[in-house]
Subunit: 135 residues, 2 copies
């Protein structure tokens, strides 16, 4: 089976340093953070604006890729579920989806939030929210 | 800059054969299609149910990865935008997000729709829609 190569286009800069201290979802008390886009990809931000609703796609580099079932939210009292019906970071391809608002922009830096990704998490894509298709 | 390896966990089986005939978004008249999950990942579907709203993440293997700006929807009359503020398939990491409903399930096959991905498109992740975080 052919694999593909996915490359960081930037990184999360956040006060959250450890996976254990990160909330499960952005809406559960996560801080704002900065998406630092690498210089070679900054042209891809053209016409993005403060106030835009975007989906930041991360590569959850600390996740375990060989896990297929988990107890939701790590609570052992909850029955096991397949990872494709949970938002567990542990999954075959550890992609994270984070719907956030652009709060401030400065050259290649986007301040966004709230976002539960930890400091240093690679960002692999950014997309605008589409009203009809995403909500 | 370190790259990561992303692997297909399944493939789209669809009557849409060519990128040119695919609608721009699923809600624009796309057909239903089947997500065929590879045998080694089928345990990750445990507890998924007909009626679930899910996000299928694809790897748009026919896309161009060196494009940073596009005319939205390929219309040259529309000014160029950075790909991170469009849903163009052409982008550094050609991930596609498709919010769909599970219409039928049969072992490792999920019938979902509407979805604009063409036949043979690799699927790299499946996540449940979270009411509060996605809509």
């Amino acid at each position: 089976m052919k694999n593909f190569s996915i490359k960081p286009i930037g990184f999360i800069r956040s006060d959250l340093r450890e996976r254990d201290e990160a909330p499960r979802q952005g809406v559960e008390g996560a801080p704002n953070a900065c998406v630092e886009v690498l210089p070679s990809y900054r042209n891809a931000l053209h016409r993005m604006q403060v106030g835009d609703e975007i989906i930041v796609i991360t590569w959850l580099h600390r996740a375990q890729r060989d896990v297929l079932k988990v107890h939701p939210r790590g609570e052992r009292s909850r029955p096991l579920r397949g990872v494709f019906s949970t938002r567990s970071p542990d999954r075959p391809n550890p992609l994270g989806l984070h719907r956030v608002k652009v709060l401030k922009m400065n050259s290649g830096r986007l301040w966004v939030g709230p976002i539960e990704a930890i400091d240093g998490t690679p960002v692999v894509d950014i997309k605008p929210v589409l009203g009809s298709a995403d909500s």
